[in-house]
Every structure is written in structure tokens, then in C-alpha cells.
Symmetry: C2
Subunit: 398 residues, 2 copies
Amino acid sequence: MYVTHLECPKCKSRYKKLSQFCEKCSSPLLVRYDIKKIKSTFSKEKLLTRTYNLWRYKELLPIIHTKNIVSLGEVITPLIKLNALGKHLGFKNLFLKDEGMNPGGSFKSRGAAVGISKAKELGVKSFVMPTNGNAGAAWAIYAAKALIEANIIMPKNAPLITRNECAISGAKLYLVDGLINDAGKIAAKAVKKYGIMDASTLKEPYRIEGKKSMGFEIVEQFGWKTPDVILYPTGGGVGIIGIYKALLELKELDIIKKLPRLAAVQAKNCAPIVRAYESRQKESVFWENAETVAFGITVPKALGDFLVLEAIYKTKGIAAAVSDEDILEYQSLLAKNEGLFICPEGAATAAAAHLLLKEGWIKPNEKVVLLNTGSGLKYPDTFKPNPPILGVNDEIVI
Amino acid sequence: MYVTHLECPKCKSRYKKLSQFCEKCSSPLLVRYDIKKIKSTFSKEKLLTRTYNLWRYKELLPIIHTKNIVSLGEVITPLIKLNALGKHLGFKNLFLKDEGMNPGGSFKSRGAAVGISKAKELGVKSFVMPTNGNAGAAWAIYAAKALIEANIIMPKNAPLITRNECAISGAKLYLVDGLINDAGKIAAKAVKKYGIMDASTLKEPYRIEGKKSMGFEIVEQFGWKTPDVILYPTGGGVGIIGIYKALLELKELDIIKKLPRLAAVQAKNCAPIVRAYESRQKESVFWENAETVAFGITVPKALGDFLVLEAIYKTKGIAAAVSDEDILEYQSLLAKNEGLFICPEGAATAAAAHLLLKEGWIKPNEKVVLLNTGSGLKYPDTFKPNPPILGVNDEIVI
């Protein structure tokens, strides 16, 4: 175990023991490692004989004892070259990292795998979590495996299937007639009243350690090189913050030299990061009346907004918003051209990539990675076909 | 490429060129390989540097040119030890192979990956397929990637999400007011009239080659050893036939010595294989009024029934039926104890394993593998929670 301390990215305070967030400035905390020590023992070759999932990057994960690892069969998710769609849109090197292949069908499993494993290691018995659906579902299934009690609060408009995942795994599930911020307020009250763990986004420092494994995998899948651009659908922002953290750690380890430009993609009707980026702000402002088909990124104001914006500025990245119409169109394009049935959030990155290509921000020959955060299977109501119904004696016409 | 010919498992006729089924006795055909030649070149160590998916077993797959491989990012699906559920039920070595982790969320992707790749290699432009949903969905997404036209016919009661997968990928989708056998009749008419490829179960010999990779993976995941029992939810039967074929090939290659006992699991309201097994028949009889929550195994009479029964008899296996009530109960047990949200078909194997343990057919210390054929995400209506709805100012009670 190479963890040295938790650090506040705002005021730089250091914590040796677990703290939920910075006691001085209330900022989320980041886990820091003894990179020098890792450098002296780590080699890429060592990975060859390790498990083919995120646990292979154990030097840069916060779990002390292997026995505390809670696993539901994680895999290295595929990085797929999109030749047909790339050609159609004008890209020579377009890729998709398919997080729909995680247990539970979304990238949230990475955060839950490491977050729950660390919670188990710390002796946590119960937690509460406000969620837009997928994170709650992921934490519920990992909590079931770890025998930890899960209290999940999600907006009543969150994807229906995520209710099933929580409830069937034995989590205590509540819906709220509001948005994720409203769920967050109810969770905060429960934390105060019952002293249970607060598993809200960025209020525990370990889920980001799981999500950063997306960054490690992308770099390993490109043969320990970096692509030019990574586009990430951005709600709470932990995914893009995690990838940025992974890239910085790999740079410090001298494994990579150059960082890819990180692009945060939002929906036009909920684009606080884009608005902040356009006026070069360090933080975002609460977005009123947020609503989009990409429900997972309906986050009016993210606690880690300043970290997302830092990741954008420091990598010469960008923030871009796309319409719900475009999201649905590119979701179909991905399925028709590539056989990939992805979630609306993931489809937003394809729409944004095309926009940024047309604007010249992306060059046609650059290596571009679309991060698809989840499976289209989790959104059965987004696309509704109306096929003909035949009688048993009918024929089809081809 | 080590394929020598196609063989009829009934009358042993041999075919050098592609034939859809045996011209003499109408039986499905099996692909045969030059095992002696493979033996002289293959070694387990060679696999270490190959891709971590089914294509690593290339010597035993029918694709000639790598360029014809149609991939949607397949993975080696996880084999998960079920310690908590095992203890609860009385097993010391209970495992689950999670096929929900395939692209499209079901084991059908394996058949589609190899079936469509071979269709592409053979120059197929269009096919028709009757399906209970998941196979059609899998063939539709792989066909999209391969630029092959897919005509899919499924019962109107097939899982709704599989309609979405077909339609969004650009397949021509039809529903039929009947069961899969009715869809099959309509497909047969289209094959006759338009001369397109018949992709019905076991009417093309290559999908089984994809499905057998489950058998290779299980053996590799057990350190090139075999478990004692594999339980498989059985509808059309290609999964269990495929695993049996894989095991025979590995035995011929001297990689394994002993075959596991194969158990075909069916639902009580559609159990033609179980009925045939109980009276030691070689073939099954059409099951009238078939209906079960495990929709994927609602197959009243499988074309390959004689091959399923052979796999059972030759491995000293068994066929067992479980009730819909049990299927739903064990689906919840899996989720609550192991965090695994699996499909009803997969849950049927857990119910059957427990039954066979209680009957003494399985011993408590035997290594038992439950084959979960798909993700619970594909069945949003099987489990319906009814969580409380809170106002934004409410509190939760823990």
C-alpha cells in the first residue's frame, strides 16, 4: 500500500486518517501516493501476469489487504475503433471506450468497486447515497456482496431499471420528487442524524480512485501512449476528474509524457460546466430547470466543478454542450454504424466530437476517444420502435 | 485454419462446402477440425500473449482470415465464486459464469460474433432469424457492424428491450402473435422465397462454434481443469451442446482428462428435455402450452434436442425442471447474497443446483458452475419494487 495521505486540492491541507472532506474549506479530498516509491518497484511488465481488470493497478489503489477487495467480476472494458462511424463523420482515428461492459452496465461500478472495498476495509456498516440512478445501483450491488447496508435516494425520474437493481440487491430505496440535489439534502440529514457514512459524490475520497482506472486502461490499451482527445459526458464530474488524476499519476511515474486534451460534454439544458468554461470561471453556478434525456448528467451544480474545470484548463481541453435531439441522433448512428447500443450520455460525446471536428478544435487525424459511460439496455424508454405484428400464417416481404 | 469438414452427427455424412443442414437426414451439422494438426502446434502458453476474449482460441474457430472477425469488444466473462450463497445453500465450491457481461448483455453474443464473422467471410448479404429475443438482438448488433442485412422475427411477448436493440441497429424487425416455432415457420417461408441465409438455431453450423468458447473459458479459468458439474438453462440447447463440443475437443487434445456432468435446466411449464430424459428418450416431444418467466428457454421442441440429450447421457448428467416461483426466489437470493442481478434463465440453474444438492445428486464439496446466460437488466418487468416517494423536505428513517 502506497497511500501517504488525503489532500485538499483547494487549501492543500493534509489528512493522515480518513476524513470525509476538508475540515477547513469543505472541499472534497484526493488520495495521494508515494509515487517515488512506486516508481522504484513498478514496471509495465509486472502487469502481464496480473488479473485482467482494474485491480491490476494495485500500487495506485487505496486498498491495503487483498481480502477486502469486493469484486463482481470487473473486466478491462473494450476500446473499440469506430471505422464506419469515423469515416461517416470525418475522423481517421475514432475510438469508443465501452463502460457499458462493467458489472451493472455502467462506469459507476468502478467507483463502487473501490469505494465499497475501502468502506469494508474501514469497517463501515451502513451508508446513504443520493444518486441519479446508476451510481446508486452500482453501490447497492457491491454493498450486497460486502454485507454493508445501503440507503439509496434517487429522483423519481431516474431510469426505472436502476430501482430494480437497488431493491433486488436488498438496498433500502427511496425516490424523491425532485432532482439529485434534493436527494442530497435528504441524505445529508440522515448522515447528521444517524452517523452513517456519506457516500455522496466526492464526499468520500475513494470512488474517484476506482474511476481513475479508466485512465490507466486507456493508456495501457494505446500501448502505454495517450490519445489526443478524450471526450467525457459530465454530470457530477468524477469520471473526468478521475481520468485526469490517473494521467497526472502516470506522468509523474514517467510512463506517459503528454496529456490528452480532456473535453467535458454536457446537455444544452444542463450545462453549468460549459457556461463556466465559456467565461473562464473556476467554479460553476447552479443551473435552473435542468432537464435532458441524458439523465445521468442532469447535475445542476457539481461539488467537484472546480476540479473538472481545472482538468479542462490544464490539459488545454474544452467544454461543449449538445442538444437532446443530437444525443438521440448520434445514439442511433452508433448503433446503425457500429452495432453499439450505448446510453444517451455516451452518445452525447459522439455528437460533441463531431461538433468539435466541424469547428476545427479536433483535427481529422487525431486519436479521439469517446467515453461511453453505460449500456443502452439501461434506458429502454429512450428509443421506442413500433414493429409490425404478424399472424402465425403471415409472410414477410424483403 | 484447421477446419476439415462439416459433419452430420446423426448419419455421419460429411460436407466439404457450406451446407445449412444435412441433405440426407435434415440434421444440424457440426464443424470438425484437424485435431491432430492442432495438437502439434497448440500450447496453453501461446494464449498468454493473445487477446483476452474468445478469439484467443482461434485454432478451434472456423474463421479463416482475421480481417473477417466482427468484434464488439468481447471479453472473457467472469467466473465468480459464490461464497455467501454457497454457504447459505450448502455448497462449498459454488461458481457462476456471468454471460451478462457480453456485449448486448447475453451469451447470444458469442454465437453472433462467430456466426456473423463466418457469414461475412462467406459473403452473406442478408439473413432471417426467428428468435426469443436475445439471439435476434445479438445477431442484429453484429450484423450492423458487418454491414449485413438482418431480418428478425420474434414473439410479441419476447423481452421488450430486445426489440430496441434490433431496431436501433437497423435490423428489419417483426413480431409474431405466437411462439418461436411460429416465428420459425415465417422465417422458413422467407428463406424459400428470397434465398437469403437461414440463421435459425442449428440451421447454420457456426454459432455453436462461438458458444463453445464458454467451455474453453471455464476450463482455462479453472487452471485447465474441469469442474464437477455445469448447470445450463436449456431452451434451443445450443449453449449446452457448444460446451459439450468444447469439452470433447479439449479431451481429444489431451488438455483435459475428465468431463464435468452437464445438467440441462428447464422451467416446469416448458420441460420437453426433462420429460425425454426421465424416460431415457433420444429425442423430445413438442411441449404444448409452454409458458414461463424465463422467456429465453420457452422452446417447446428444439431442433438439437437429440444433441442435448446425448450431452447429458454421455457425461452422466441430468435434466431438471424448476418452477417459476423458484426461479424468481433464486434470482433475488443471487442479488441479495452476491450482488449479482442475473436473468431468470440463469436463476433457474441456482434453483436446480439447490434441488440436486438436496436430492444428493450433487455433493456439497463438488465444484459446481451455474451458467448465467444474461443480465437481469434485460428483464425490467420481472422484478417490480415499489419504493416510497419522498417530498424534498422529507427525512428517511434508518
